[in-house]
Symmetry: C2
Subunit: 423 residues, 2 copies
């Protein structure tokens, strides 16, 4: 059996159609990789022992046939346990129904390998997972296990959630592609809400093709085609907060991305956003605290004494926050969403921004700082981490591409064009 | 023990503070009323037998002390079963945690009486509940039991959800106040989603004061004060779709509301909305079908053969709907939300509209037509049904007041002023 490293989902589907691969091949390759690396990485909360029952005929129109996937341990399943990263104070042996994502994946022929490690209830309490590029470093969070499992080649596709920076940051730290689609693209049903006006389901992969294939499969929409080049594509460089000083390694990653885009014909220039956008960082904090205190009111009432200190602090902050502060944040967010949509019409096609303040920090006590994701998540825009650079220690440093809401196809097409081999 | 009919929550809190009532009094009165009327009305899916354990001292800052409430059987509880109106193909003896609403209510000292009947998964398959004003008629749906229980004096406060017209319509049919706050006001966690961009938690009461008290309690915000009069308040009369011909009984209800508002000093005039607003009815149908097909993907996969025909039809319609149709609906909705906000700034303070096409229709085979709620629910605006009129058979015919998003306090203050006894 040959290696599946570097194979895309589309290639595997072609091999299956031609009889060059079997439905269980990729699953078997993943199990082997897990057997080798899991003891060190600890990306999995639960691994299914079952050999997948796959039927090539049944899933005839499916586009993820035989593709092994990992699910963040926040996504409910009928036949696998969920513990929401709580270490057991909340746990379910199996839910009444699969989450919609799981149903969609099964319908497309994917194979659920198991549940990947999440931080406690998807907040900041670090998990056991280690960064595959340096075991002494955090993989980022909260979708720690999903990012690390993809980076370690244990699975080609894993799902996570982002409410603050829980996909883009770990993708950047682990050197993989991570995609947070437009808010509301994939149902969040069957996933414990944290801050419902920001909670977004997304996914990790080792190449942009698989990010695109997954988007099309989950929205049952057309294949994302790459363009011939990026001529005419307007790129604006702008991190939020706009006054953020980028570290040298992040500045270098942004410059490398800029150069790459320019080589493909894009016009890249700094983008100046209204100063009001900087206030989104604080508004995000208010919305997060207020909504989390509501969403997790029952968990707090029953389990506060078992919860991590940072989560308790956030929930209590939220409980004390006046309703009018929340309303102010919501109204201002909507105004700026509207304003940003106009920027996308008039000024840029893609925004190029920092994914994180730097490479994965040392230690496992923290999952790193989600600062550069806060505002974009609140705005609900699609964000894609591209692992284009490494710092001088060889650690990955990502950048993010940000697009207009519900124009995911445009954003992904640009990214796919950028990453396509030149001919 | 005296009757509690007509007592407001605030009056009861005053009586408790003065020692004129006991904490279990209202609960006892409700149990008596349920014993008398439940056999005919059938508003309850589950009734708790437990005598409430209440502690006056413990809930010292609470504003719903001893207030009995009913919860739509879609709202999860730790210590009571939930069956989502499925008749058993989905059922839970008790969830891991209470839904946030339940936690908030308990924190405020409320007493959960039980679960009220919902239509199947909150869609159109009628329930067993009958209209307290005429047992041969529907109470409306999907929050059938909550509306009927409040109308029948079984409970002063009951909670429901609205995704299409599931609060305003049954409130109109049952002759009670029904409130759907701004989308996102109270957490929907612990409630099965149907169409997450519209699912809204709301409540029913017999007077506007209790609607206001509950809003303040759930948002922990200031008491909604009534004004001296409605001088300077601009009221726009406008139902959606704008070209809807109102039946004589609904026209009469709107005219009576207009006259009442004018007597209090308001300026009432027809409001002309952009013709694009009429398309919201179709957009709502697209968003509903698309999101429901996602949200209930697992339920469909496991239980389609047990589901009502209308629900299956909706889900299959949603599964066939192209993603770009959904995106078109979402984008146009956002544009019109923004446009409507400007209308609220420049032209009106409140919109006065029909709640339903008429009084409760005869028979239990249908829960009536939610047409007049579709667009407003999609727009996310707060809507209040006021039971101001009766038709010539003596059946209630409501009207709705509609306000600007996140300006619930203004809308409720106007309604409270209108309903206040003149002095």
């Amino acid at each position: 059996m040959e290696s599946h490293q570097g194979m895309t989902i589309e290639e595997y589907q072609r091999r299956l159609a031609l009889g060059q691969s079997q439905l269980a091949d990729w699953w078997q390759a993943c199990r082997t990789q897990i057997a080798i690396r899991e003891a060190h990485i600890q990306a999995w909360e639960y691994l299914s022992d079952e050999t997948p029952k796959l039927d090539l005929a049944m899933a005839d129109h499916a586009s993820l046939k035989g593709v092994p996937v990992g699910l963040k341990d926040l996504i409910e399943t009928r036949d696998m346990p969920t513990s929401w990263g709580t270490g057991g104070y909340l746990s379910s042996a199996g839910s009444l129904v699969d989450a919609p994502l799981v149903t969609l994946l099964k319908r497309q022929g994917a194979v659920i390998l198991g549940k990947t490690v999440t931080t406690e209830l998807a907040y900041f309490q670090p998990s056991k997972t280690r960064n595959p590029h340096d075991l002494s470093r955090t993989p980022g969070g909260s979708s720690s296990g999903s990012a690390a499992a993809v980076a370690a080649g244990m699975v080609p596709l894993a799902f996570g959630t982002q409410t603050v920076g829980s996909i883009i940051r770990p993708a950047s730290y682990c050197g993989v592609f991570g995609y947070k689609p437009t808010f509301g693209t994939v149902s969040f049903a069957g996933i414990k809400p944290f801050a419902p006006s920001m909670d977004t389901l997304g996914w990790f992969a080792n190449n942009v093709d698989d990010i695109c294939t997954t988007f099309s499969a989950l929205t049952r929409s057309a294949r994302i085609e790459s363009r011939h080049d990026l001529l005419g594509v307007r790129v604006g460089i702008c991190s939020l907060p706009t006054d953020a000083k980028l570290t040298a390694e992040v500045q270098q990653a942004v410059s490398q991305a800029q150069a790459l885009m320019e080589r493909r014909g894009a016009s890249v220039a700094p983008l100046r956003l209204d100063a009001a956008f900087d206030a989104l960082i604080e508004h995000q904090q208010a919305v997060l605290a207020y909504e989390a205190a509501q969403s997790l009111a029952g968990e707090y009432r029953q389990h506060a004494y078992e919860m991590g200190a940072k989560l308790v602090e956030l929930l209590e902050q939220g409980m004390g926050l006046p309703y009018h502060r929340y309303v102010t944040a919501k109204r201002e967010t909507e105004r700026l969403r509207w304003l940003l949509s106009e920027v996308f019409v008039k000024e840029v096609d893609v925004i190029l921004a920092a994914s994180a303040p730097g490479a994965a920090p040392e230690g496992l006590e923290s999952t790193g700082d989600p600062l550069f994701c806060r505002a974009w998540t609140l705005l609900g825009v699609p964000c894609l981490n591209l692992p284009l650079s490494h710092n001088e220690r060889g650690l990955p440093v990502g950048v993010q591409f940000i697009g207009d809401r519900f124009r995911d196809d445009s954003l992904l097409s640009i990214a796919r064009t950028l990453m396509a081999p030149r001919y």
